[in-house]
Symmetry: C2
Subunit: 423 residues, 2 copies
């Protein structure tokens, strides 16, 4: 029995033109996979009627089609109209929905001090639905819809990712989607996360360990400095998956840092919390990204005390306490200053563990001795520390993102060492 087929249609001119990177396609595809539906295609189209209609027609051939975007009040938001055309359904205004969107729009009109008349046409447009569509919720003035068709289902969601993600659970509760999900088969998934090994090394170990088997697929994916291996096993291939996972643990144990989906910032916070330790940062070239990743985790405030972005040299000296003499002798980008930043973060911010980052993100500022991409990291604990030197390729954004990931992994390694050795 094959798995139900899922298709994602994403609409937005700025997305098909490459002016913005779509986030909804990957989110929805991962959701389909998790639910036991095979993500077969993500189609990104603009707001032109012909291209959108063609993509929706193809989407209607899937067991579950999820559409994102094109639900706004303006003329170039055509998803509902084109869906009705592709599905051969009449359009009509839903009076109840119109009243709900009108209420919301009147409040906006009031706040903006504009007559409601300016909004009426858009409200009417947004309350116009294909025959038989279910409203699963409203995000701002845009309704989320579900349409059932002979055992298959179409879900239509607003484009802004937070609103799409908020309405998605309601779509899963709807009868047409539940009918599709009743035919889904949720595979068994195992995540192995490696750090410090190359993609080739992991691929090689995977092949030597026996590799894929009937009903067992293995994907290897490099993500910043991590290598993510995902084993997806059908019911009758679970033993093969267990064997493969064990063999990988044995061969690559020194690089394995997690067997779940928690990002490294969550691992750092969880380890520190278990040990009763607090964390602080002092960053130069990453400019706050390490602190931003740590504070992206809900509940981080019980572990993370704060951070200093020490961009100017006198800020490094005055705010973090990096000795001026050290800056003069070794330069701001040096192992010594990275260590002083980590130590200063501990001391000034009253934390047990300090993370220090100093480097050259580029495009300017490189020298023959210290080229663009050179980054020094230091993680300092109560009784021990770890240091790392990196030479990173790529542009400014890539250097900053990779240095941030490496700094978090260094803190993770230090916390593991403290846990294991009490050091």
């Amino acid at each position: 029995m094959t798995r139900p087929r899922g298709v994602v249609v994403v609409t937005g001119s700025e997305l098909v033109r490459g002016e913005r990177t779509d986030r909804n396609g990957p989110f929805l595809a991962a959701e389909l996979l998790r639910l036991g539906i095979e993500p077969a295609r993500i189609a990104i189209v603009g707001d032109g009627a012909a291209e959108l209609e063609a993509a929706l027609r193809e989407g209607l051939e899937a067991d579950l089609c999820v559409v994102s975007g094109g639900l706004g009040p303006t003329h170039d938001d055509r998803t509902v109209q084109m869906l009705a055309r592709a599905a051969g359904l009449e359009l009509a205004v839903d009076p109840e929905l119109e009243a709900e969107i009108e209420g919301f729009s009147r409040r906006i009109a009031e706040r903006l001090k504009r007559p409601y008349g300016d909004f009426a046409e858009g409200v009417r447009k947004q309350a116009t639905l294909p025959a038989g569509a279910l409203v699963i919720g409203v995000a701002g003035t845009a309704p989320g819809l579900v349409l059932g068709r002979n055992g298959s289902a179409v879900v239509v969601l607003p484009g802004p990712p937070p609103e799409l993600q908020r309405l998605w659970p309601a779509a899963l509760e709807s009868a047409p989607v539940r009918a599709v999900l009743s035919r889904a088969r949720v595979p068994d998934r195992r995540a192995l996360r490696f750090y410090g090994a190359s993609e080739s090394t992991v691929a090689r170990a995977l092949a030597e360990a026996g590799g894929e088997a009937d009903g067992l697929t293995a994907t290897i994916c490099a993500r910043e400095f991590e290598i993510h291996v995902d084993l997806v096993a059908e019911k009758d291939a679970r033993e093969s998956a267990d064997r493969l996972a064990s063999a990988l643990r044995e061969r690559l144990g020194e690089y394995l840092f997690a067997e779940d989906e928690r990002p490294v910032e969550a691992l750092v916070l969880d380890s520190a919390r278990e040990l009763g330790l607090t964390v602080a940062t002092a960053e130069s070239c990453t400019g706050g990204l390490v602190a931003a990743r740590l504070t992206s985790v809900p509940g981080s405030s019980d572990v993370f005390r704060g951070g200093i972005v020490a961009y100017a040299n006198d800020v490094k000296a005055a705010e973090v306490g990096v000795p001026e003499e050290l800056l003069a002798r070794h330069g701001a980008v040096s192992p010594e200053v990275a260590q002083a930043l980590a130590a200063g973060a501990r001391e000034r911010l009253g934390a047990d563990v300090g993370i220090g980052v100093s480097g050259i993100a580029g495009p300017g500022g490189g020298t023959p001795e210290k080229p663009v991409g050179r980054v020094y990291l230091h993680a300092e604990g109560p009784r021990s520390g770890l240091a790392r030197e990196l030479d990173l390729g790529g542009d400014r954004a890539a250097v900053r993102a990779r240095a941030t990931a490496a700094a978090l992994h260094l803190a993770r390694a230090l916390l593991a060492q403290i846990r294991d050795k009490g050091a």
Copy 2:
């Protein structure tokens, strides 16, 4: 005359499953747009034969189809085979290409201390081409190809983004692609960026100003708190575009903050630089994101002095100098503390302009008086300041991202005020 139609086909199981976000589609789409070809669709499919062949068939209907990925040596890399099938072309080994890939593979085999025989089948596979295909270069062991078909062209490139981007210029030089580009028309583009107006208000103003015309398309796109209007005009519609842009300036002048593509963090830095002012931040709920966005801009170090992420209350007091009495009386999330954070950033970090952010990002920490999403912002200059209170919807990531954008816009507004009034 319409513009040649471009389609991008991206293949990769980890991409269609949402395990990784595709970067090639946006890169190629932006390239097509720049070259005067209309990016009509980005299709992301896995490595299954049927889905890939269907996507390639649709791609062959375009004037220019660019395919990324599926060129590796293993059985699940099927792009060339499926392209030949979709185009109805024979496959044959290219001896010259085989020799080139063999040389490369022998060096890999040596390094890995494996017999070359292990590689021979993969090499033969990678040297197998559809009849008439041009080799435009080799990335590792994967060849980039161009196929001409009755005035249209298909470009096949390897999946790793650096290799794809390296071979792309050679594809543009090939005769079949040049034939398509000779029919391309590079449009005239105008960007208008609004802040503080709703999408409906902008849409309404656009309609009242005459809206789209022959050869003139207008897209409206909400991005965090900004509304982006892009006018794309064919040669004979440039006057209509000028008229429309003037009318929008007149109607929405108070919200218009830029007529170029610079992000708000670059506008803040450029304004400060022009005025000879420096900038610093003190953030609570945004956890370093404001500093990270400011330092994402190359050359920010001549304006941005540093920032403090003051998560714990005693860090707010000790590091930023927020009076303990103020924290006790008004709470850490208050207009008073946001102002004290901005003032403290100026003073402690020796900057002319300070940006202070305090709020409740959630999911915990809300109260009836100060719910999740409440954020207080303050921008303080040498002689004046601006404050703002926000109630933001969405999850933790959305609240943090929107508060960050709003803080940058507040700083931009303060700098504009300083420039205009000398205040």
